[in-house]
Each structure stands twice: as structure tokens, then as C-alpha cells.
Amino acid sequence: MIGLIVRRLLQLVFLLIGISFLVFSSMYVAPGDPAAMVGGPTATESDLESIRENLGLNDPFLVQYGRYLTNALQGDFGYSYQTRQSVTEAIAIRIPNTVKLAIASIIVAIFIGLLAGMISALRHNSWLDVSSTTFALAGISIPNFWLGAILILVFAVTLQWLPVGGLSAPWYTVEGMKQLVLPAITLGTGSAAMIARMTRSSMLEVKKADYVRTARAKGVKERKVIGVHILKNALIPVVTVIGVNFGGLLGGTIITEKVFAINGVGRLMIDSIAMRDFPMVQGSVLLVATLFVVVNLVTDIVYTMIDPRISYD
């Protein structure tokens, strides 16, 4: 286990260097001058020149990247071109919101997904199965930018049950919970659908397994056959799906954060791409990638816990 963690973290470092290079070079070749974004439309050429000099944008690409990398490896992720704020600080402010949103969404997704998937598998080929499969597929097919808008229209504006946006209240307050509901549903629907599908197919698979027959031959009660023998095995592939989806959710926050006015990393990311704020883009992308890898690592660890056959090392 320790070996696995160490190995993954080592890989992570290389992964992050790869990603940072990719991001840095693509931002570098992308049209758009960071200085112009800082200077605004009125800036004269000499204004821009001094901004460029100030930000070190006149150095050759490799020098710039090398400088970035050296600093980053020492834990210094630089300062925003735009706000001159420390990138670490800027991200630290936003990350709780993104994480909160992602966790709430995955909880929604797991809850709905497992339930729908299990019902489907246990009532295979019944109308319940058909309708929950349809639901699952519809969930994957809904554009989430659209769903968010519709949810706001219905629940926030028309019915006024829930706030339109924001995520400033602490999550454990009623207000905070209310704020989370719509964005979590918007973001979680796709994953719920994916989890439901995986649960269904994996349970159907496991239902046919020999050891389930063994359990029945022992006279185990049906409830336990399903709850212990089938579910525990069926959950193994579901865990991977949950892991991958959780990673995906981090990306999905980009749109959700925009629609629901949530101050998170996803929005920081698109805003800083639009503003050509390289250090900020770098910082937020690296962060999301790190989270992604960490989530996958956690998935693997959970994996070893529910599946004794797997041991890394």
C-alpha cells in the first residue's frame, strides 16, 4: 500500500511536469497578449512594453518555462498577471467551493446512481428496469449547461424554493445546503447516470456468478444474498466509475460554477485562460490534475479495501 502511494506520488510529479509543459506551451503559442489584457484597451505600446518587461514576458519561451518550473518545484506558483495576487492564495480561496460542489455532486450521484442501478438489476427487464435505464441514459444525454438553466428557472425563480446562486454560506447551515442543491444536481446527474449503468450491469454480471449460486445453495436468505454476496462484488467496478467520475466532476464544475455564480477553481480557470493569465492557468490546471490523481489514488486504495484480491506491491 505504502509502495503504491509512493509510486503514484512519484508518477504524479512527472505527470504534473508534463501537464505544466503542455499548458505553458499551449498558452504561449495561443494568440493573445497577456500584457494587452493587463493594460486594457487604452494601453499604448509603451505601456504594454513596460508591462511585458515587468512580467518577464520578453524572455524566450524556455527561459520563462524554466523559471516557472524552478519556482514551482520550490512551491512558488507565481503571481497572477492580472491581479498580482499570489496564485496559491487565489486558488486557496476558491478551492473549498469547488471541492464542496464536487463532493455534494458525487454524493447525489452515488445515491441516485446506486439506487437506480440496483433497482434496475434486481427487477431486470421489468418496467422499473426500463424506466430507470431510460432515466440513466437521459441523465447522460442532458446538456448540463441547459439543465442548470432550467433548474434555476423552475426551482429558484418560479417556485423560489432555493437560491439562484452563490455558495458562500457554510455547508452545514440550512442556507448552505440549499445553495448546494441545484448545482449538485446539475453537476451530479451525468455521473449518477453513469454510476447507475455501471451498477446495473455489474450487478447483473455478479448475479450470474458461481459464488452467488453457492450462497443460495447454503440457504442464505435472499436479502443477504443481494446485500452481502452480490453487492460487495458488484461495487468493485462501480468504485472505479465513481473515481473516474469524481475526476470528471472537477472538470464539469467549469460550466456549473459559471451558471450558478460559484466562486470556484473551474471558473478561475476559464477566466484566466480568457485573460491569458498564465500563472493562474497553470496553477489551477495543476491543482485540478493533482486532485484528479489523488482521487484516483484514493479509488485504488478503496479498491484494495473492498477487493482483497488486489494488492499493489
Binding site: 494587452a36 494601453a43 508591462i51 437560491p163 466562486n263 470556484g264 471558473r267
Partner: protein, 494 residues
């Protein structure tokens, strides 16, 4: 079921707590809170409340009035002697005085600062402190729109002590009616009433600037009472806003303008008939109608709210005449070559692009739209990699010279003159308008320059802006200026 009631839960909770919070929603967060280091409207919306300038443009009349200044005089064309108000204190308790003015302006001008709006003081030669409350500023050449420059938000005076002690970008210290409380970047800025303000403390005690990137979300929040005030209402949402009962919509002619420009560096665009054909193919009336009252129709390059405007220019441009356009296109074969219509993917540019593309197509042109995100657009436009494009100018100084010089003077071609307009005669007029201190004369120069551009069909003015805001019916007293700036100082709850 009136507005007051629909403002549900959040409002009641606050009322119970007893602190009056006034919430404003902005789509973009402030870049920073120092007037020296920023140059964007979300930032200046905060800066305007926290800091003050030497002069201020009256929200109602548009006249320039002293703010931190007491009075000024011009001993000669190059010298400005400004007397300052006495007894004004910064929020940190230090005194506002001539040193502060010199400190602020020197810092703004210093190349090492790399201030984005350093150009405001570009004509300034020296700044001298004559006594505690008098400064003397000498310019390199007569500078006609100097007062306009000094009334710009970026010329706000900062507390030198605070600037040396802390980062004003994060913790601003000014002399304004509101004091800074906190800033959560990307989320909200909180201000509170400055109880010691020399004209009396504002009525609202707490102001929150919330970042709500989607306008429609912001409007929904306005509807539910989560937000009390938004500005820059988008045309698409006007109908919806008008149907909402709990808000008042305020509109006012503005200084901004939107126009189609040719890339004058391109061979094709040097043909006056081509420009004429394009201009006559564009039905600006139909377009302005589409703006639902959020645009003012005028051909004049210098808009009604801008210094240098003359009514006679309203209809001085090439009128819409589809048949004439078709004829010209037909005659000169303009339809053969594809035309690249570059546009940024924000605000009304897309609307203009779609409508203009459709109208030009109707006239027989072959126009392809190319949208770009803002950063790429600025780069591309500056590099001149387009045939036609839309540009806008918000003109915070409301001075015609500050419009014509950066945007169309050949000095700036390739930087802020993205149209690459190059007309020596025009250049001379603009220079004259800038270096004359006599305002009457300046008016004359500007009008001539304006006429020249219209004659040339240098640009096609799509519309002049309308400044808008939507305010919760429970409040009144918002001051809105033609430049789009506003003051919360006199807002009161009904």
C-alpha cells in the same frame, strides 16, 4: 405580489440582524483595488466608492467639478495650479494633502510601476508641491483634456502611508464615502459606510459587490431579492427586466459607442466606394431597434454625451440604401472576395455581427464571421488580421479628444488605433484639439474631425450607448453618470 414580497428569505434574515446590506452583482470581479494598478470597470466600480479624484464629472450634468480640489487656475497654457480641500482624511487616518497628490501621480507616471493607465498623465512634465494644499502641475504641451483626465477613476488619490505599508490592490485606502472591509477574490467585495465622510455618512451601511458571472443568474437574483442592484443591463434581458415588478430600470444616454470599422491598412478598404457600399448596406435603424431602447441612433462619431458633439452630425453619415449598396457591389464585383468580419465574442458584438453579416450578405457581399475570445481578438485586431471588425469605446473621460486620438490618430496605428486609420488632415485636427486649452476652440476642431471621418466613411457608427441600471424598488438615490460610473453615496432605503 409586489417586489417587496418576492425579496424573500435572505432579506428578512438581514433585516433581523439589523445591518443594512446593499448588494450589487457584477459579472466580472475587480482585478484589483488600487487605482494605480488597474484599468477595468469592475475595479473602478469599487475604486469610485472608496477613493476620490481631484475633479469629478457631475453625474447629472456631465460638468467637471472639483472634488478633492478646491479650485484651479492656469497661469499659462502649460501650468495648472490646483488648490486642495483642507481637513480631508484618508480612511487610515492620515491627512490628504499636496504630498499625497504628488506621490500618487508620480507613482502612476513611473515606468517602473508599469501602471496600465500611465498614459493619463503622459503629457505631465513636473509636479511640484507649492504648499500643503497647493500643487503645481506643468505639462509638456498644452493639454486640453487635462481636467477630464484628472477626473478619471485611475487618477484617484491614494494614501501614501497606506501604499507603502500594504498592497492597495488588496486593501485600498482612500478618502471616499465608503471604506474597504474585505475582498474574497472571485466572490465578493465588502465596503462599509465611512462615518467620518466630510459630507455626512452614506445611508447604506454595508455594500456587497457579488460576482455573478451569468447575467441571467444575476437577474434571477435581482428578482428573488438576493441582489439589489445591477448595471450594464444586456439588451436581451430588457424585456424580462421590464416585466419584473420589484425593480426600477434607470436609463441614461451614455458616452460609449459601438462601431463597425474597416481595416484601413487593407487595399480593398482603401476604395472609398467599397466603404460607401458597406455603409449604405447597413440598416442601423433596424439594429438600434433591436437594442430595445439600449442604444442611441446617431451617425456622429462623437456621441451626444461626449465633448465635441454637434447635432448636425447625427445624420451626416451615408444613409441606409440597400439598392445603392447592391448597385455598387454589382458594379465593382465586391461580392467575389470573401470578407472576414472579425468580432469578439462578448457583449453586443455578436448581435452586431450577426445582423451586419446578414445585411451585407443581402447586399451581395460575401461575409464570414470570425468570433474570438477577447484576448485573441485584441491581438488579432491590433495585428490588423481582419477586413471588418466591430470596436467599442467606453470613453470614461467623455472628451472627444480622448476618443479620436487613441482610436484614430495615425500615431497609434497598430496599438490602440486598431482601424489603422491614417488621415493627415484628421491627425492635425485631433492634435489641435488636444493642445488647445480653450474649450470653444477645441469643440470646433473636434467637430471638423468628426465631419472628416463621416465623409470618409472611416467607420460606421452602429449606436451610442445607453447607461443602464436596475435598482431594487426599495431603494432610491442612485447616481448614474453617462460614462457608466455610479455612486452609491446618496442611496437610501425607502
Amino acid at each position: 405580489a409586489c417586489g417587496g414580497e418576492s425579496a424573500s428569505a435572505p432579506k428578512d434574515a438581514e433585516a433581523a440582524e439589523g445591518n443594512e446590506t446593499f448588494t450589487y452583482a457584477t459579472t466580472t470581479d475587480a482585478v484589483g483595488l488600487s487605482p494605480i494598478m488597474t484599468n477595468d470597470s469592475p475595479s473602478s466600480n469599487v475604486i469610485e466608492q472608496v477613493y476620490e479624484k481631484l475633479f469629478n464629472r457631475n453625474y447629472e450634468t456631465g460638468e467637471i467639478e472639483p472634488e478633492l480640489a478646491e479650485s484651479y487656475e492656469n497661469p499659462d497654457d502649460l501650468t495648472w495650479v490646483i488648490k486642495l480641500k483642507e481637513g480631508v482624511k484618508f480612511h487610515d487616518g492620515t491627512d490628504f494633502n499636496a504630498e499625497a497628490v504628488k506621490y500618487t501621480f508620480d507613482k502612476l507616471r513611473d515606468p517602473a510601476t508599469a501602471a496600465p493607465r500611465a498614459s493619463l498623465l503622459e503629457p505631465v512634465d513636473t509636479i511640484t508641491v507649492l504648499d500643503d494644499y497647493t500643487v503645481e502641475i506643468k505639462t509638456k504641451y498644452p493639454y486640453g483634456s487635462f481636467l477630464a483626465a484628472l477626473s478619471h477613476a485611475n487618477a484617484s488619490i491614494v494614501s501614501p502611508t497606506a501604499d507603502q505599508k500594504q498592497d492597495l490592490m488588496k486593501e485600498p485606502v482612500g478618502t471616499g464615502a465608503f471604506k474597504f472591509v474585505s475582498w474574497t477574490p472571485g466572490d465578493q467585495v465588502v465596503l462599509e459606510a465611512n462615518e467620518e465622510y466630510r459630507d455626512g455618512a452614506p445611508a447604506i451601511k454595508k455594500v456587497v459587490y457579488r460576482v455573478v458571472p451569468e447575467v441571467s443568474t444575476a437577474i434571477s437574483m435581482l428578482q428573488t431579492g438576493e441582489v439589489n442592484f445591477i448595471d450594464g443591463l444586456p439588451t436581451e434581458q430588457i424585456k424580462r427586466l421590464e416585466s419584473m415588478e420589484n425593480i426600477n430600470i434607470e436609463k441614461k444616454q451614455g458616452t460609449s459607442q459601438y462601431y463597425l470599422t474597416f481595416n484601413h491598412a487593407k487595399e480593398m478598404n482603401k476604395d472609398p466606394e467599397f466603404r460607401k457600399a458597406v455603409a449604405s448596406a447597413i440598416d442601423r435603424d433596424a439594429y438600434v431597434e433591436k437594442l430595445n431602447g439600449l442604444g442611441v441612433r446617431s451617425d456622429s462619431v462623437i456621441g451626444p454625451e461626449v465633448f465635441g458633439y454637434d447635432e448636425s452630425k447625427d445624420n451626416a453619415g451615408t444613409p441606409y440604401d440597400l439598392e445603392a449598396a447592391k448597385e455598387l457591389v454589382e458594379k465593382n464585383g465586391y461580392g467575389e472576395k470573401p470578407i472576414k468580419l472579425l468580432t469578439a465574442d462578448r457583449e453586443n458584438f455578436m448581435l452586431m455581427a450577426e445582423i451586419v453579416q446578414s445585411q451585407l450578405t443581402e447586399a451581395g457581399f460575401n461575409v464570414q464571421i470570425e468570433t474570438m475570445e477577447w484576448a485573441a481578438f485584441l491581438d488579432t485586431a491590433r495585428a490588423g488580421d481582419y477586413d471588418l471588425t466591430f470596436l467599442s469605446w467606453s470613453n470614461v473621460t467623455a472628451d472627444g479628444s480622448e476618443l479620436l486620438y487613441p482610436n484614430f490618430h495615425s500615431d497609434n496605428a497598430g496599438s490602440s488605433n486598431r482601424a489603422f486609420y491614417n488621415n493627415p488632415e484628421f491627425d492635425k485636427l485631433v492634435e489641435a484639439s488636444r493642445s488647445t486649452v480653450d474649450q470653444e476652440e477645441r469643440l470646433n476642431y473636434l467637430d471638423q474631425a468628426n465631419a472628416l471621418m463621416l465623409e470618409d466613411n472611416a467607420v460606421v457608427i452602429m449606436n451610442h450607448g445607453v447607461v443602464t441600471a436596475a435598482l431594487d424598488k426599495n431603494y432610491e438615490g442612485l447616481e448614474l453618470s453617462a460614462t457608466g460610473q455610479w455612486s452609491l453615496q446618496n442611496i437610501v432605503r425607502k
